[in-house]
Every structure is written in C-alpha cells, then in structure tokens.
Symmetry: C2
Subunit: 266 residues, 2 copies
Amino acid sequence: MNIESADLRTANRIVLRWNRDGEKEEFSDCLVREFPATVYLNDQELVTLLCTPEFLEDLAAGFLVSEGMLRSKEELESIVADYEQGQVWVKSSASHFIAEKTFMKRYLTTGCGKGTSFYSLNDVQSCNPIITELMVTPEQIRSRMKDLQNRSELFQTTGGVHSASLASVEEVILYREDIGRHNAVDKILGYCFRQGLALGEMMMFTSGRLSSEMLLKVAKVGIPILVSRSAPTSLAVELAEQLGVTLVGFARGPRFNVYCHPERII
Amino acid sequence: MNIESADLRTANRIVLRWNRDGEKEEFSDCLVREFPATVYLNDQELVTLLCTPEFLEDLAAGFLVSEGMLRSKEELESIVADYEQGQVWVKSSASHFIAEKTFMKRYLTTGCGKGTSFYSLNDVQSCNPIITELMVTPEQIRSRMKDLQNRSELFQTTGGVHSASLASVEEVILYREDIGRHNAVDKILGYCFRQGLALGEMMMFTSGRLSSEMLLKVAKVGIPILVSRSAPTSLAVELAEQLGVTLVGFARGPRFNVYCHPERII
C-alpha cells in the first residue's frame, strides 16, 4: 500500500513570521514530514532512512539496488511496509543479501574508499559504460525539466523537498518527492526494479545537486541521461565521462549546460 | 595545515551551453571539487566523507563530535590530515572511541532508530535542553544571515556548495563551505571543539534545509539558535521544541519564520 494522502507527507504548525516592517504575525505553516523508516533484510535490521513517508516499499528496493544488494527481480521475494511503525521488511533469496559486514563497510564509506581510485576499482568497475541508441533534442530536455518543476506540489507547499522524475523523450513516466534528493531517486529506481522496467532509453531529472553518489545510482541501472537544475561536482563529471552518462546541469528555462557526452543531444 | 587555495576547491572544465535561441557555445565552467576523505580512528578505518577538500582536520573532529565519539578536548590526542591522499588520522585516548560496532550501528541508522521514540531514548536523552541568557534582535538575525550570503564566494563561482557560519550577535566568528550541508557545519563544530570555544551564546547559520540531523548537531554542542534560509522538516521542529533550540527558517531579506522558542528574539 502506498500512501498518497497529503496529510501523511505534511504537518501544520503555528509559526511566528517577522516581516519587513518589523512587525510579527502568527500564521499556520505547512511543514514537510521527516520520518524514520527502518529497512529489515531477511529479518535483520539494516538501515534507517530519514524520508518522506510514502512509497516506502519502492524506497527500500531502490536503496538496496543502489547499494548493489539487489541485482535481479527474481532475488526479491517480498517487500512489506508498515507505515505506522516506519518499518520495511524485505525478503531476498540471494546470499549476498545477508552479507551484512560487506554492506556496513560499503555504507560507512558512502560508496567510495580511500581515494578516487576506489571508484574505478569497485563501484565503477561493477558498472558497464552505457551503450544506448537514445537521442534527444534540446527541446525535449527543456520540456521534461519544465514538467518536473510544474509537478512539484509538495515543494510549492513546504519548500522543503527534492523532486525527481523518470522521463522518456515524450513524457514523464514517474515522479517522486522526498526530503532527501537520494531518496526521491531511490523511490523511482525501486519502482522500476519491482516492475522490471527497462531504463536504457530513459532520462532522470532531479532538483538536487549532482554528486558522485547520484551519478552512480543512475549509471548502475543504465540510465544514459541525467539532468538537474543544480550544479554538478567535479567527481560526478569525471564518473559520468567514464561511465558514458550524458550529464546536464543548470537546466533552467531555455538554458542548460552539458558536462559530458553531448553526442546524444541533436 | 589547511588549504585555502581556490585551486584545490574547484576544477575547470570545458562545457557546452545551450542557449535561449537554440544555439550552443563552449565555455569554461568552474566546478566545485568533490573529494573523498577517509577518517582513521586509532589506526582503524572509520568512515569516508565526500567533501570539499579544505579544513579536513576540523571536518573529522566535527564529525566525531556530532557522532558522540569525541566528548572532551582532552580525549583528543592528535589529528593529522594528508590532503594528497585524502586521509585524516585521529588519535584518541577515550575507550568509547574504539567502539566501532556501536558506531557502525549508529551510523547505519543515520542518527535514529526504529521510530521517532529512538530520538528521545538515545540522541535526545544525551542532549540537555539548552539554557542560555542569549537574546537577539530581529535585526541581528537579518544582518548575520546577510553576512553568510555575502561571504559565499564558492557558491557564487560554482553554484554547488552549502555554506554555514557561526556568529555572535555582533559578527560572524567562522565561515565554512562544503558540497555537503552537514560537512560545512561539522567543519565549524570541529574547529570550535579543537579550540575549546564556548558555544552557548552563539548562533549557527546555514544555507541548507533544517533536517533532524542538522538540529541534533547544533543541540548537542549547546548552540541555542539555528537559522536557515531554507525550510525545516517537521521532525527538526519537534526536536528543537524539546531541546530548547530557537529554530528560524526561510530567513530571506527582511523576513524570517520562527518555528519554536521565539522567547530569545526581542
């Protein structure tokens, strides 16, 4: 069950606002809810994610995919979320699933090791450079980015969330919001993993900055184009170059910057 | 040694920009560097932080303080950073320092457990509600926030960093930038910890959103006022209420919202 009620995503609170003229006034503000959801893998507590409480099943699946702990749909036996308790129970048949020590090591290092070289040795080596026939026009990038911004109702209400969308050249396929930019993307990746959707002809759009972790998430599942309204880091660009991801930043209005692999934009 | 050279914080790259008129042009863009820095505690690898490579000693100290692994200046024997290799070596005399298992558990749960109640049981219980005589005027909040924005040169160059500052009512004491909003705050907390600065009369300003983790960082070291230009989450407000932190959000120009403990603003 996914909860789409706005009530579970937000909370109202009486707030004092100081104004330009030095006056203060009370008003009722709408806050985005931050909610701890603990993921259990084969009955073992694995991680607690601070998130916006909807699509918890997808969030858990996407997180495990991003961490390399879920590799094929067949491995996934079940996912059950308890939205009251903030718990997601995942059952998997894969033995590497129970490799808690490996995971903890990985997680502690937030996806990298003792230096940039670790990327090429582990995460980057486990990624195949992306090969796709996908070609897009500048207008398609602009339109899908505009779609992302138009849909961000929770941001418009609370100012406190990031948004992400998966889009084909024609339309937005899936849209998600979360207090965490990684969570919003994981909710999309988890949905696609559970549905078995192919991602080789898709684009990912995000409101958040493009760090190395964001780039690796997208590259791991073979999405060839990543677009953000914000800035990329140097490491995200290096990895995108290596892994064959077209990296687009500062997509605002008619303008956007392409940091690598511009050959897919015609 | 701290590195302040702009060269180490940024990297230039030739980028393609698509313009309004559909034309594209090449230009040299300045990217913020993302750099993995691994923290070793008593010769044991603990965590790798993805960060902007400056003030790594402070970053490591601030991270350990935030995680509850460094409690007093006396425990800290030495911190040595290798900016080439991205390594920070911390020596501590405290036995809880080596409690890697506890840390890993904590880290995995990103500061919370199986539900909101965990906060009150652990992190929140280890925090004493803040008692201070500090009173500020609305104008002081506005001026210090303006100082933060004026100082953000790296953001102005790259668009890719968060900034944080520690301020008294009169002036900015310390200013830091990082690709991660938590890192920018940890760099400040680490500096103060190493210098033995008292924080009970200080305010923390941040460009980033106010999540529960940010609130706990500030509350743990006894800073009574936390101000952001962005939105708070519901959980951050709940914790601030409990822990006696004056939480100010959406501080933009002359306006700001006070989410709890407005009694310190006169």
